[in-house]
């Protein structure tokens, strides 16, 4: 009888321990669904691999959010996309979280012999760019206009849906040159050579992030943005080649 009582006591004790152990474990929060510009792929995956990401052209992602996609956070490569959604009441007030610069990339073999952006004007080149509605495509047009090189638009052989597609085509040698972000060039630095674009011709590339209004997990979404804006997030972005939050975010 006494042995039975001891066994019962131990069983109850073990049960209490199991319950206590379970309640002490951190509550598993469901991963956030984050839509982000393709150029943020490496940086975001490094910063927080636990979330569900969908990377692509910010314009396409904006359209998906408009169409009701279940998203918690939207990080865009251009303020235009987030601001339009904000005006429509589809995201909370966006904040700038980083900046970037453009570069011209050529394959390592450099078949067209491009040493300077100005060579695009004088040499026969197969140029690949992103479509004008894609942020990097719009920025490319700005660079060419600022440098007085709009004439090279006639050398475009392909307009891609996002910056990764441009990078891929150049890296694979399917084009002689392409305009991408410095951060994307860095990600394939073993396959491409970077041709610098002068500072005076650089567009103002600003990234914005916002909580999507329809999100069912706004508290976690806001917390995630806080991390992105904090030291951890900014360090991950800097390590990927992004620029710090600009003083002037206008």
């Amino acid at each position: 009888m006494r042995n039975r009582l001891v066994l019962l006591f131990l069983a109850v004790l073990a049960g209490v321990a199991v319950v206590a152990g379970a309640s002490a474990r951190p509550t598993a929060t469901p991963p956030l669904t984050i839509y982000a510009g393709a150029s943020l792929t490496e940086a975001f995956k490094t910063l927080d691999p636990a979330q569900n990401y969908s990377f692509g052209g910010s314009n396409a992602l904006e359209t998906q959010i408009r169409n009701g996609a279940p998203v918690d956070v939207f990080a865009s490569a251009a303020p235009l996309n987030t601001q339009r959604l904000f005006s429509a009441g589809l995201v909370e007030k966006p904040v700038t979280f980083t900046a970037n610069r453009l570069a011209l990339i050529v394959p390592k073999s450099n078949p067209a012999g491009i040493q300077s952006v100005y060579d695009l004007r004088s040499k026969p080149v197969k140029l690949v760019v992103a479509a004008p509605a894609v942020p990097v495509g719009g920025y490319t047009l700005t660079v060419l206009r600022k440098m007085g090189l709009s004439s090279v638009l006639g050398k475009i052989v392909s307009r891609e849906s996002d910056v990764k597609a441009v990078t891929g085509k150049v890296a694979l040698g399917q084009a002689d040159a392409g305009f991408v972000y410095v951060t994307d060039a860095r990600a394939v630095s073993d396959q491409v050579t970077v041709v610098r674009i002068p500072a005076w011709a650089q567009p103002r590339v600003r990234y914005e992030v916002a909580v999507v209004t329809r999100s069912t997990n706004k508290v976690a979404a806001r917390a995630w943005i806080k991390v992105l804006l904090g030291t951890k997030g900014q360090t991950a972005l800097r390590n990927a080649g992004f620029l710090p939050i600009p003083k002037s975010t206008s």
Partner: protein
């Protein structure tokens, strides 16, 4: 009253009018100098016009930063300091002019905050380094403006020529009073001028 009397009486009036006209011209010239060279309406700015304008805007922001640091460094003779202050003011004026030009053409002009100016270590540590760095910068700018005064469309040539003249004045103020003779200014295309300033413009 004789004709001679009338002539004699009219002479002071003519003199007064001459003096007034001279004063007016001087005042007008002064006014223009204060107001700066205004960019003409840029309804039909070409690609090259905009490229020169964008380069000029960044270069003038750079020059403004240079003058501020040179003043702060205080290594140049006290006699040069007024020229540095004038240089800073003129750079601001030029920047405003290029900004107006670009905005008039429908572009979003850059702001000074868009640039990270990078000066080699020790640039402002001695008078000689301060002076030589300033001259490298200003000569590249002058070369670009000279190129622009030929390469830009007719409506902007006077603007770029005026800015070139003003930049040459700054070079004169900064150049050492003794020593090597200032080289004959060479017109540069944008690629060459841009390469010359690349290390400073980040």
């Amino acid at each position: 009253m004789t004709v001679r009397d009338e002539t004699e009486r009219a002479a002071p009036a003519r003199e007064r009018r001459r003096i007034d006209r001279r004063r007016f011209l001087i005042a007008s010239a002064g006014g223009l100098a204060v107001a700066g060279v205004h960019a003409p309406a840029a309804s039909a700015a070409t690609d090259d016009d905009l490229a020169y304008g964008n380069f000029g805007l960044a270069a003038e922001f750079l020059a403004s930063d240079y003058y501020a640091r040179a003043l702060q460094g205080a290594k140049l003779d006290a006699a040069v300091r007024p020229a540095l202050r004038r240089g800073r003011a003129v750079a601001g004026l030029h920047a405003r002019t290029f900004s107006e030009m670009l905005a008039g053409a429908g572009d979003a002009p850059a702001a000074s905050e868009d640039f990270t100016f990078e000066w080699p270590s020790g640039t402002f540590a001695t008078a000689a380094r301060t002076r030589s760095t300033g001259l490298v910068m200003l000569r590249a700018m002058l070369g670009a403006y000279q190129g622009a005064s030929v390469g830009a469309s007719a409506q902007y040539r006077t603007l770029f020529a005026s800015v070139a003249a003003s930049t040459a004045q700054q070079i004169g103020s900064l150049a050492p009073t003794a020593g090597a003779i200032e080289p004959f200014p060479v017109a540069l295309d944008l690629e060459a001028a841009s390469a010359a300033l690349e290390s400073f413009l980040g």
